[in-house]
Subunit: 169 residues, 2 copies
């Protein structure tokens, strides 16, 4: 999974420990990813087992759980270059719970589904309010633009869908 590569990239840029790496990931990729911080620890374990990063306990943390600072190995840097140079997988499928509900709702579910579309639009507006992030530069700014474009398209579609349902379509 590519999150592992992203964590490797962060460590290759500058050594760091789990919590800090999760913070740097979120800063770089933005809130729409909704990072589960525990996935960063899983990625670090996996990278360490593969010899792509090495961890060394440092001061900080607690006695039972000392802070471990990770650095990329030469094999890790090579793996990072291989990831970024390899052809990308084809685009992700478009899968949404809301799409399924719309596809399978019958007439009697219409009021409930209309309320769900409204709640979804509200959530999109809330996400959009967090963009663009003034701190985003370079690749991070490109990611922000992708998220903004997608969420605006979703809002336009939601408005259209609600109008069509209200018209009895």
């Amino acid at each position: 999974m590519s999150l592992t590569h992203a964590v490797l990239a962060l460590v290759a840029e500058r050594r760091g420990y789990g919590y800090e790496l999760a913070h740097r990931f979120e800063e770089r990729v933005g809130p729409a990813w909704r990072l589960n911080p525990s996935a960063v620890y899983t990625a670090l374990d996996q990278l360490e087992r593969g010899g792509l990063v090495s961890g060394a306990a440092r001061r900080g943390g607690t006695r039972r759980s000392p802070r471990v600072v990770y650095a990329a190995s030469p094999a890790g840097v090579a793996a990072l270059d291989a990831w970024l140079s390899a052809p990308a997988a084809r685009p992700e499928p478009v899968r949404s719970e809301l799409h399924l509900r719309l596809a399978f709702a019958q007439r009697r579910h219409r009021p409930a589904v209309t309320a769900q579309l409204a709640a979804h639009a509200q959530a999109c507006e809330e996400l959009l309010a967090r963009y663009p992030r003034s701190s985003a530069r370079g690749g991070a700014a490109l990611v922000d633009a992708a998220v903004e474009g997608r969420v605006r398209a979703e809002l336009a579609w939601l408005a259209q869908a609600r109008a069509r349902i209200a018209a009895g379509g």
Copy 2:
């Protein structure tokens, strides 16, 4: 997972067997979902264990693997109504391998990432060529509109990203 509910909805509309239900799912929801047909069989097993559908072997299929036709139970119809009436989960996170690559690419990876953006645009164009589906009505047409809107937004963003990278941004 909501695919299970979608399969329940299909069976409630009209009884059917695995392969046929997978076909009807794809017809309804469209190619962008990229259904894994085996997920339909998993869903049917799960629904049957939960008493929401019941299967009966019918003619057809092979002797070792007779065709099983599924029908929704009254509890299944109630579960379907509950799914379609419950508040929807919040929108899915926006997660893309390509976003990660853009966020973490360094200058030396730029030619490779530019090629990946081009390949991604090509894949989006190919998907878009399958829309709108003239067979889609009602909720299925709304799903198509969502997919089209998202893919068009992705293409607009890809053009912008490629221009920005070409300009050395």
